[in-house]
Symmetry: none
Subunit: 231 residues, 4 copies
Amino acid sequence: MDTSAPEEIDSEKVPPVAPFSQLREPPTTQRGARTRAALVKAARKVFERDGYLDTRLTDITKEARCAAGSFYTYFSNKEEVLAAVLLEAQEDMMHPGMGRVEGADDPHAVLEASNRAYLAAYKRNAKLMALLEQVAQVEPEFREFRRRRGEAFIRRNARGIADLQARSVADREVDPMMASRALSGMVSVMAYNAFVRSEGQEEEGTPVDFEELVATVTRLWANALRFPGHR
Amino acid sequence: MDTSAPEEIDSEKVPPVAPFSQLREPPTTQRGARTRAALVKAARKVFERDGYLDTRLTDITKEARCAAGSFYTYFSNKEEVLAAVLLEAQEDMMHPGMGRVEGADDPHAVLEASNRAYLAAYKRNAKLMALLEQVAQVEPEFREFRRRRGEAFIRRNARGIADLQARSVADREVDPMMASRALSGMVSVMAYNAFVRSEGQEEEGTPVDFEELVATVTRLWANALRFPGHR
Amino acid sequence: MDTSAPEEIDSEKVPPVAPFSQLREPPTTQRGARTRAALVKAARKVFERDGYLDTRLTDITKEARCAAGSFYTYFSNKEEVLAAVLLEAQEDMMHPGMGRVEGADDPHAVLEASNRAYLAAYKRNAKLMALLEQVAQVEPEFREFRRRRGEAFIRRNARGIADLQARSVADREVDPMMASRALSGMVSVMAYNAFVRSEGQEEEGTPVDFEELVATVTRLWANALRFPGHR
Amino acid sequence: MDTSAPEEIDSEKVPPVAPFSQLREPPTTQRGARTRAALVKAARKVFERDGYLDTRLTDITKEARCAAGSFYTYFSNKEEVLAAVLLEAQEDMMHPGMGRVEGADDPHAVLEASNRAYLAAYKRNAKLMALLEQVAQVEPEFREFRRRRGEAFIRRNARGIADLQARSVADREVDPMMASRALSGMVSVMAYNAFVRSEGQEEEGTPVDFEELVATVTRLWANALRFPGHR
DNA sequence: AATGAATGAGCCTTCATTCAT
DNA sequence: TATGAATGAAGGCTCATTCAT
């Protein structure tokens, strides 16, 4: 489960998570680059469709329309392609890309914008997030990756909380890191439930209204920290 | 990730989750019962030690000191033993066993007791919870099991929230189910991070103080619902 | 190339060479013993026919009329079956079984009997010796095995030489070990050339007369050590 | 194992062994010649380092700093490069280059010079000899090459022995060819053990004194043929 | 000629499941 | 019921060789 959390403040970008070690050297020719790209694209597609564990390497090469052996020109195993897939997607996953907020000094408005951006990014990359959750249960390397990604969000939000505490906008009784872990976790669980769990389970009765989701987590978060002024 | 949540009120027990379909009927002879029990016990041990995926059936039979073939007398595959393991453990996992609370009419006290009971149960069964998280990523049958277990907690907590809203103790703006999902999720994420993720990572610097954990989630939960009166 | 050498004195048996570590445990049932034996027998046949390197494990299981997977019940790889094959054959390879010699106090007679026994054993196990030579070039484990086997013969012969030197029957100028290495090597090369190299090469003109071989190496050996009295 | 043997008389050169069939014709351009030479040099280095079997063609091209495909411009497979390697080295391996011997009419002096030259050449080319032994176990073409090389030495030594027999310097009872096979083999085994087997086994206690080696084989050889007069 | 990516046959190994005893 | 050997499908990986540029 992803425990990352929404951005508190848009100017503070979440730093990119440490990349995986590249064992195979990158292709030198254009043709090589094309094949490698095809493999990564195919891998993402197949992983998202069949799951990491059920994916055989030949499924990937078949999807990429190349020979089984070609795979090993660029990757030494399934883990490595997945690392490449995640690396490519990392940008969008880490930088929800929240725009300038109207009234950036209104903590509630900032918080809401941050949550909306986070949830939207989660929704956009839902299949990949599902994949990451699965892999994290199986491969320690990716468990660590997930952890680092979560920590990046948590720390950023903790800084936001500490800042609001300093300005007496937020409850000073709670430890910023603990509170961030809890609230960031709360948002990420909601995202997971809304965008990952519900997917594929068409029979699910309540498809979750995106705006209601944003509103609820924002209100609970604001309340939890005792933001002043309630409408 | 488990999204179940703490009990709000101890008198309302979480109903046991629908059991798995039993393909094999229970053994008739005493000897059979003994063997079956040994297999279930061994399975739990091996699953918790090696993880569901890395466990081979022979690992289980070896641990149970019986022949590989004997396994099929009682179960038709790995899923089925796991179902048996979970069934046996379900009681403790579902009924945190919160005692009578002093001042049961103080919402904050009740909430804290509930959270403490939930977290304590999670900690007690941490390895099994970890296992459940792993399996849920792999076997749809157990994904469903996890979902139902979570829903049971969420619904119970939602009833508690609705009750407090009716008594004007809790913020009436939020939908009880949505709020319960968010807050129950918050607690379960914290539990997972504290008792599952930290395990095995001996180098982990902060082993998480149990009481601090209880205090934090309780305070955030109370704040989020705008319980009146702060100490 | 095998550098073992003929026995000097029949009463001194060459000690069996240290066996290989048995990784898989031996079969407990009769059926298991039968299958294992079939595999070892098949392995020897296929190894001798196709050579170690060209033998695929499925060739062995096919020859033994069992499934590919069964191989792994008894051995973990090709090396291990070969070890089993050699272990079974070791007795005959190490104990040429030279009978009582008429006039055991005649050094020349003893030497001749020893050489005859060694060469006869080599001839009997020619295909296996060929196999050992091949494997020794490829697998360090068996290179060591070959070395130990050779050393056993060399040391025994060195003792014989030293003994004759003490009795002034043999040239005292040479170092017993050096001389044994050289002469034992001489005999083993002759054996290799006669029984291994010539095999399979039907076109070979001179099939080598066994008795002439015995006579020649014996005479050269006796001369080299300056045994007294020449016919 | 190489059974070639020392030269008896330096004036009689061992004739070069029949070359391998050259499938590819030699390169026409200068650039081509350079690449080919680089490949042969690299092949020798890699073969000697890793052994014939463990060498992949790309190891060779990598060492030669050229592309994998270029290999096939000059050779059609691994065997062919090896043939080229051996061809280049043959000169030194076949012509130990024994200088004029003082007192060329003293059989013992001539024999000793011959043995010294042979052993020195073996030592110089030890890695290549090791390689040849390995390949001979695997590729019939090179088994034949080794045989022919050995035969060349054996025949030359047989002529020397026959000559000494005619002059009544050597024991007339033994067949010159048989004796040559045995004694030449004796020397080559000693060379193999001293220069090939001991290599790589750093722990080897006795590094073999070169002069002692020469002295011993010479003495045994002389004795075996009953050269007259002992010091 | 040179390059280096692409190809795919081939072999090893695992392990859930069956079955004869 | 218990046993444990037998089965064989499945998939990973290597590397000699080809081929487009």
